[in-house]
Protein backbone atom coordinates (compact mmCIF):
# COMPACT_ATOMS: atom_id res chain seq x y z
CA UNK A 1 0.00 0.00 0.00
CA UNK A 2 1.39 3.41 -0.91
CA UNK A 3 1.63 6.15 1.71
CA UNK A 4 -1.09 8.04 -0.13
CA UNK A 5 -3.42 5.05 0.18
CA UNK A 6 -2.54 4.66 3.86
CA UNK A 7 -3.37 8.32 4.53
CA UNK A 8 -6.53 8.09 2.47
CA UNK A 9 -7.67 5.10 4.51
CA UNK A 10 -7.13 7.01 7.79
CA UNK A 11 -8.83 10.16 6.50
CA UNK A 12 -11.85 8.31 5.13
CA UNK A 13 -12.05 5.92 8.07
CA UNK A 14 -12.51 8.62 10.73
CA UNK A 15 -15.10 11.37 10.91
CA UNK A 16 -12.59 13.67 12.59
CA UNK A 17 -8.85 13.09 12.44
CA UNK A 18 -5.93 15.32 13.35
CA UNK A 19 -2.44 14.69 11.98
CA UNK A 20 -0.20 16.20 14.64
CA UNK A 21 3.20 16.18 16.30
CA UNK A 22 2.98 14.17 19.51
CA UNK A 23 -0.18 12.85 21.16
CA UNK A 24 -3.27 14.69 22.44
CA UNK A 25 -1.94 14.23 25.98
CA UNK A 26 1.60 15.27 25.08
CA UNK A 27 1.64 17.51 22.01
CA UNK A 28 5.20 18.14 20.82
CA UNK A 29 4.57 21.48 19.14
CA UNK A 30 2.65 24.63 20.05
CA UNK A 31 0.54 24.51 16.91
CA UNK A 32 -0.52 20.91 17.51
CA UNK A 33 -1.25 21.82 21.12
CA UNK A 34 -3.52 24.64 19.98
CA UNK A 35 -5.38 22.33 17.59
CA UNK A 36 -5.99 19.82 20.39
CA UNK A 37 -7.24 22.55 22.71
CA UNK A 38 -9.78 23.63 20.08
CA UNK A 39 -11.02 20.07 19.50
CA UNK A 40 -11.32 19.56 23.27
CA UNK A 41 -13.33 22.79 23.58
CA UNK A 42 -15.68 21.53 20.87
CA UNK A 43 -16.10 18.34 22.91
CA UNK A 44 -15.95 16.31 19.74
CA UNK A 45 -14.59 12.76 19.35
CA UNK A 46 -11.48 12.61 17.17
CA UNK A 47 -8.71 10.31 16.07
CA UNK A 48 -5.12 11.53 15.99
CA UNK A 49 -2.01 10.46 14.14
CA UNK A 50 1.41 11.29 15.56
CA UNK A 51 3.51 12.04 12.49
CA UNK A 52 6.69 11.95 14.56
CA UNK A 53 6.14 8.19 14.89
CA UNK A 54 5.81 7.68 11.15
CA UNK A 55 8.22 9.50 8.86
CA UNK A 56 6.42 8.24 5.75
CA UNK A 57 3.15 9.84 6.83
CA UNK A 58 4.96 12.96 8.06
CA UNK A 59 6.24 13.58 4.54
CA UNK A 60 3.24 12.12 2.70
CA UNK A 61 0.54 14.14 4.42
CA UNK A 62 1.97 17.38 2.99
CA UNK A 63 1.57 16.05 -0.54
CA UNK A 64 -1.81 14.51 0.21
CA UNK A 65 -3.36 17.86 1.12
CA UNK A 66 -0.88 20.08 -0.75
CA UNK A 67 -0.42 21.88 2.56
CA UNK A 68 3.07 22.54 3.97
CA UNK A 69 2.54 22.29 7.70
CA UNK A 70 1.33 20.09 10.53
CA UNK A 71 -1.17 19.89 12.29
CA UNK A 72 -3.82 19.14 9.67
CA UNK A 73 -7.47 18.60 10.46
CA UNK A 74 -9.80 16.45 8.36
CA UNK A 75 -13.55 16.21 8.87
CA UNK A 76 -15.60 13.64 6.96
CA UNK A 77 -12.77 13.07 4.53
CA UNK A 78 -12.20 16.72 3.79
CA UNK A 79 -9.15 18.83 4.64
CA UNK A 80 -10.25 21.77 6.77
CA UNK A 81 -6.95 23.47 7.55
CA UNK A 82 -4.15 23.87 10.08
CA UNK A 83 -4.25 25.37 13.57
CA UNK A 84 -4.55 29.02 12.43
CA UNK A 85 -7.58 28.26 10.28
CA UNK A 86 -9.03 26.11 13.06
CA UNK A 87 -8.71 29.07 15.44
CA UNK A 88 -10.30 31.51 12.97
CA UNK A 89 -13.16 29.08 12.33
CA UNK A 90 -13.58 28.34 16.03
CA UNK A 91 -13.79 32.02 16.92
CA UNK A 92 -16.29 32.62 14.12
CA UNK A 93 -18.45 29.74 15.37
CA UNK A 94 -17.92 27.92 12.07
CA UNK A 95 -16.38 24.81 13.63
CA UNK A 96 -19.30 24.37 16.00
CA UNK A 97 -21.62 24.77 13.01
CA UNK A 98 -19.81 21.94 11.21
CA UNK A 99 -19.98 19.73 14.31
CA UNK A 100 -23.73 20.31 14.49
CA UNK A 101 -24.40 20.03 10.75
CA UNK A 102 -22.40 16.81 10.36
CA UNK A 103 -23.78 15.36 13.59
CA UNK A 104 -20.28 14.50 14.81
CA UNK A 105 -19.95 12.25 17.87
CA UNK A 106 -19.17 13.83 21.22
CA UNK A 107 -15.96 13.11 23.09
CA UNK A 108 -15.89 10.63 25.94
Amino acid sequence: MSVNERIDEIVKGNDVVLFMKGSPLFPQCGFSSKAIAILDHLNVAYASVDVLQDMEIRAGIKDYSDWPTIPQLYVKGEFLGGSDIMMEMYEAGELQAIVDAEGLAKAG
Binding site: F31, W67, P68, T69, L80, G81, E88
Partner: protein, 76 residues
Amino acid sequence: MAMHAHEIEEMIQAALPDAFVEITDLAGDGNHYAARVVSESFRGMPRVKQHKAVYDALGGRMGGVLHALQLTTAIP
Protein backbone atom coordinates in the same frame (compact mmCIF):
# COMPACT_ATOMS: atom_id res chain seq x y z
CA MET B 1 18.45 29.03 8.91
CA ALA B 2 15.98 31.56 10.28
CA MET B 3 14.29 34.19 8.13
CA HIS B 4 14.13 37.91 8.76
CA ALA B 5 10.78 39.62 9.17
CA HIS B 6 11.42 41.91 6.20
CA GLU B 7 12.25 38.91 3.97
CA ILE B 8 8.90 37.35 4.80
CA GLU B 9 7.13 40.63 4.21
CA GLU B 10 8.86 41.20 0.86
CA MET B 11 8.05 37.73 -0.43
CA ILE B 12 4.37 38.05 0.45
CA GLN B 13 4.25 41.56 -0.98
CA ALA B 14 5.85 40.40 -4.22
CA ALA B 15 3.20 37.73 -4.76
CA LEU B 16 0.25 39.80 -3.49
CA PRO B 17 1.11 43.40 -4.47
CA ASP B 18 -2.10 44.88 -3.04
CA ALA B 19 -1.66 43.21 0.33
CA PHE B 20 -1.25 44.88 3.69
CA VAL B 21 1.34 42.74 5.48
CA GLU B 22 2.15 42.98 9.16
CA ILE B 23 4.83 40.73 10.64
CA THR B 24 5.34 40.30 14.37
CA ASP B 25 8.35 38.52 15.82
CA LEU B 26 6.58 36.59 18.56
CA ALA B 27 9.53 35.35 20.57
CA GLY B 28 12.18 37.85 19.52
CA ASP B 29 14.30 34.96 18.24
CA GLY B 30 13.83 35.50 14.48
CA ASN B 31 12.15 32.13 14.28
CA HIS B 32 8.58 32.48 15.52
CA TYR B 33 6.49 34.95 13.59
CA ALA B 34 2.90 36.01 13.28
CA ALA B 35 1.74 37.41 9.96
CA ARG B 36 -1.43 39.29 9.23
CA VAL B 37 -2.17 39.60 5.52
CA VAL B 38 -5.04 41.66 4.23
CA SER B 39 -5.73 41.49 0.51
CA GLU B 40 -8.60 42.15 -1.83
CA SER B 41 -7.50 39.10 -3.82
CA PHE B 42 -8.77 36.86 -0.99
CA ARG B 43 -12.36 37.83 -1.66
CA GLY B 44 -14.44 34.78 -2.52
CA MET B 45 -11.66 32.35 -1.54
CA PRO B 46 -12.17 29.81 1.23
CA ARG B 47 -9.73 30.18 4.15
CA VAL B 48 -7.61 27.24 3.07
CA LYS B 49 -7.05 28.91 -0.32
CA GLN B 50 -6.20 32.26 1.31
CA HIS B 51 -3.57 30.70 3.53
CA LYS B 52 -2.31 28.62 0.64
CA ALA B 53 -1.78 31.80 -1.41
CA VAL B 54 0.46 33.16 1.35
CA TYR B 55 2.33 29.85 1.72
CA ASP B 56 2.85 29.78 -2.06
CA ALA B 57 4.28 33.30 -1.86
CA LEU B 58 6.88 31.98 0.56
CA GLY B 59 7.97 29.46 -2.07
CA GLY B 60 8.30 26.28 -0.06
CA ARG B 61 9.94 27.87 2.98
CA MET B 62 6.86 27.31 5.08
CA GLY B 63 7.25 24.08 6.99
CA GLY B 64 10.95 24.18 6.19
CA VAL B 65 13.23 27.07 7.22
CA LEU B 66 10.15 28.85 8.45
CA HIS B 67 8.70 26.61 11.12
CA ALA B 68 6.49 28.93 13.06
CA LEU B 69 4.34 31.42 11.22
CA GLN B 70 1.01 32.08 12.82
CA LEU B 71 -1.05 33.29 9.91
CA THR B 72 -4.18 35.39 9.81
CA THR B 73 -5.75 36.41 6.53
CA ALA B 74 -8.49 38.97 5.97
CA ILE B 75 -10.29 40.90 3.28
CA PRO B 76 -10.17 44.73 3.52
